[in-house]
Symmetry: none
Amino acid sequence: MLKEERHTTILNEIRIHNRVLLTDLSNLLQVSEDTVRRDLKELDHKGQIKKVHGGAISTGYHSHNQIYAHDKKVVIAQKAIKLLKSGQNVLITGGTTNYELARLIPSKLKITFITPSLSTASQLLSHKHIEVIFLGGRLSHEGQIALGGSVVNSLSEIRADLCFLGTGYLDTVNGLTEFDWEVVQIKKAMIKSSDHVVSLAISEKLNSSQRYKVCDMDSINTMITELNPDDHILDSYRKNGIKIL
Amino acid sequence: MLKEERHTTILNEIRIHNRVLLTDLSNLLQVSEDTVRRDLKELDHKGQIKKVHGGAISTGYHSHNQIYAHDKKVVIAQKAIKLLKSGQNVLITGGTTNYELARLIPSKLKITFITPSLSTASQLLSHKHIEVIFLGGRLSHEGQIALGGSVVNSLSEIRADLCFLGTGYLDTVNGLTEFDWEVVQIKKAMIKSSDHVVSLAISEKLNSSQRYKVCDMDSINTMITELNPDDHILDSYRKNGIKIL
DNA sequence: ATAAGATTTGCAATATTTTGCGTTTTAATT
DNA sequence: AATTAAAACGCAAAATATTGCAAATCTTAT
């Protein structure tokens, strides 16, 4: 049986049952478990399925993205926290990385966070010593963040020490880009209101871009990825005078 | 059963019931309690649930008193939903009763809800057909709602068809009263912006009052409790020309 | 057609992960 | 304080993954 045939069969099985066991596939396809394992690995790498211990599950669901690259995000969040000092006024967007950041804030820091993101706000509120300002507006169903003119207006009345920009795509040529136009407006306003702009992105987001531009690379002061700061992947970013953590 | 499957099941259970018992999960998933414990630990670590003694609850928002008088609150919420019509602009406060209301909104209704409550907003957002406007401001750690002048200001620019006031204490002499002065300011502004004011309260809240006054009974158009509308406990409220459901 | 090179496959040895059980520690209740 | 339920810990067995390797298979250039 050809590899491509197996792959189609596997994808079908997962499409039907939402999950599949490695041993079952080995029986069904009449190949060794090793081969199936390698097939799953390949399909996972292509993003078509999610390989898990003992088999694979469908990737279409929400569950995948939430847990995806979780470890990397924790690493990023921990680096970001080192930038915080008591007394600061900090702008922060939504996204799972910033959510992690919000979770991990040490209790000794007394900081005011300002955010348009429901999930980030909620997480921040679990810390009794943190003050949280929510930027109101129409909430988007996808990102659970407030969008629109009211947010931008409110931001124009704010001066922040720091700004944590989550998600987004980074590229030395196009700078920071986003998929959603409204999100771009918010981020632009956030950057304008901050003394220091920090971009948090897992390395997958590097060297890729989306259709709308938030800012050039030189508007970003600090860049944080899960990689070692002197990883060669970051070489092209270094020359822009950006601090890399 | 794959670990990921268990995780999805656990998250679903919590999403539906807001909490789960460890022993129930152990039965449901047919694995040892230790395994469930490890699953919960993992999910908690990822921030997807909150692990507590004996089981787990959903993250952020609502706490243990969520469970209190839950059945009564569902009854109230169901009555309240009958007042809703597509196309309306509806103000809604926080509180567990309104949270239930938000949960139970039927999908055929196209409504815009405006709220200063994080938990209510978040729940409303789970309905794709509902538009949600969040009234931004400084968030309180206790109630998870936005307080302060910015909320009151925003409310002055809004005209709503309906206003659902949760919590609060009702009394024929003192009217609607509250414990928190800032909350009072918000509720006053909400009443001012609405054509029709609905008070939702479990019967325990009747005939009791707190230190700050929101409004007299005659500012309230409709009153909803879990009791039968012609229960004698409600007699004294009836004469104010209030509609009782 | 065939020989060199690359890819795929199965196997075995070695790691890693998962899981349930007994024991100890911790937390809630009376 | 005493009693009980739950959580944490360490452990060992079982299941699953990874790796190196050699045989089989497929490519492709001559």
